[in-house]
Symmetry: C2
């Protein structure tokens, strides 16, 4: 396989604002979701916690899709700790342990420069290997809110998606408004200063992916939903030619009417792929609910499916493998 | 480049036994040598400390050879934290932060199982990439003593080398005798129990390299001196076919009359390469003294030179680049 899948882990304090994130059973548990996602890819269940991450209503993490695609296509995976509360208990590339701060109160990521520099060094080394393509996924609870803040600061009238069918747009807009007031900036004001947008409103996942992309000069698939729009917009504002980039996400993000994935991707000028996964016939409510707008994307689920498709599997094969993995989890209970 | 250079970092408390290691200006400073070596490969000087690691008499770390070869041949490098006191301030693959214990008092590495498992996962992922060969170097102060203890436990009448021209063999033998007495074993007694030899007398570098080698199934160059004899002997005792392995070291190790590199390599049944570096004409005493038995090897210096030679450079080119790098360091003072 000439592609390498990187899973970049990030945390931001924003995920603990009640109502912002359902990427964990409680706001506090969202802190552990990135490491648990990473561990689940390599083991039958996570190591840091005893169960896979779920929404408050019990919907399983999209890591199950990534794991399914990986078991089919056998692509190589490296976990990258962009900045998390804990270190995952699996081998991982350490970039930083800086967690994004609550941007209502202070700049989100004073460490952005160090993170980009280190991640760029890592990308440069990968660039010397025969690896032709990086597929970069992420696990960053609260990340759609930081993404929307960054997109707004850069001048995009974007609405990011959510792992909840009831996208908390008014809450997102409220916390972003507070952050903009704290920082004394208006929508679009950081159009020409992407690093300041990252510092004020971003998260360590974004900084890490940007650094890797500055170091690795061949094809890069940004495997995620609207969070990868923010990464793309930052890269564009930094002067990167987006023709070597693509976003791979799921149909659930692309079809999300509460968000502007397709429109904003077009405005940024980045092509996208949406994996046509279908869980409607699953025997499990937790999976069927993906079709009702729960979860949607994360852990590079769309990009992992894309790698499986490139390897000759169909989205149906991936969906079937997800069903099998979920059954296995249910039997372990 | 179809080869990937891994630099595995390890610490053992054994390096702080006075007289055992000169891989640092003082026994206490040997704790920082692995991270400083790693940082120097990527930067003009280390970040954790302000100067490159030196012997108590001021001889520069062999990282300068690895850095020289890398600047010529541009091979990719990933740092791997097998188990060290500190995390290096460069991107690195985190395997563990377990430091080898003083084996005179207690088993050296109770964590050997977890380290091997994690490192194997990492090796398995590398095995799925198009990378055809791993060249694995190490920085492990005190590591020739743990190596000799492991070789003795496995039944080899080996003497390992030293970064000092006065190989402290009698001190090494004394601490090993104490360790064997503490553990209640005799020379050769763990011939058929390599993991127990590793647990009782090894270090985290060994466990990490073994794990990677169990996961990555293509060619592996063990880039080091007599420490890599211990790794080879462990791999052989674990049932690995050594025909895909090779040790790459320097002529200074191969010619070291106080050690048994050639004889023990032959006894184990692993082929070896010795880089023909020549610092005799250096304008700097610190480098000329390599020809008098100082330093000799480390940080994969021999393996890095081998990669440079494969890329079309001569050992003389590497020696010249070392001279240039050392001059640059002197000018920074």
């Amino acid at each position: 396989m000439e592609s390498l899948f990187l899973l970049v882990l990030g945390n931001t304090e924003i995920s603990t604002v009640p109502g912002i994130s359902v990427a964990g059973a409680t706001p506090e548990l969202t802190k552990l979701t990135p490491v648990a996602d990473a561990e689940y890819l390599f083991h039958e269940k996570p190591l840091t916690i005893d169960v896979i991450p779920v929404t408050p209503e019990g919907h399983p993490t999209p890591a199950i899709i990534t794991k399914a695609a990986r078991e089919l296509a056998n692509f190589p995976v490296l976990v990258v700790r962009g900045g998390t509360y804990l270190a995952p208990l699996v081998p991982h590339v350490h970039i930083s342990d800086a967690v994004g701060r609550d941007f209502r109160k202070e700049p989100a990521l004073p460490e952005f420069g160090d993170i980009i520099k280190r991640a760029k060094l890592f990308g440069e080394e990968l660039n010397k290997t025969p690896i032709k393509e990086l597929v970069i996924g992420e696990s960053t609870p609260g990340g759609t809110t930081t993404a929307q803040a960054v997109l707004w600061a850069l001048g995009y009238e974007a609405r990011t998606s959510s792992a909840s069918p009831d996208n908390p747009q008014s809450l997102k807009e409220k916390v972003i408004a507070e952050a903009f007031e704290r920082a004394g900036i208006e929508k679009g004001q950081l159009r020409d200063n992407p690093l300041e947008a990252l510092r004020q409103f971003g998260d360590p996942m974004m900084a890490t992916v940007i650094g890797i992309a500055l170091g690795f000069r061949r094809d890069i698939v940004l495997a995620g939903g609207t969070q990868m729009l923010a990464v793309s917009a930052l890269l564009k504002a930094l002067g990167e030619d987006l023709s070597r980039f693509m976003i791979a996400t799921t149909k659930w993000v692309a079809n999300d009417k509460s968000a502007t994935f397709i429109e904003t991707a077009k405005e940024i000028g980045i092509i996208s792929y949406a994996a046509d996964l279908d869980f409607s016939k699953s025997e499990f409510k937790g999976l069927r609910d993906y079709e009702r707008g729960y979860v949607k994307e994360g852990v590079g689920a769309g990009g992992a499916t894309w790698l499986a498709v490139k390897a000759g599997f169909s989205p149906e094969d991936v969906s079937e493998k997800v069903e099998e993995l979920y059954r296995r989890l249910m039997e372990m209970k």
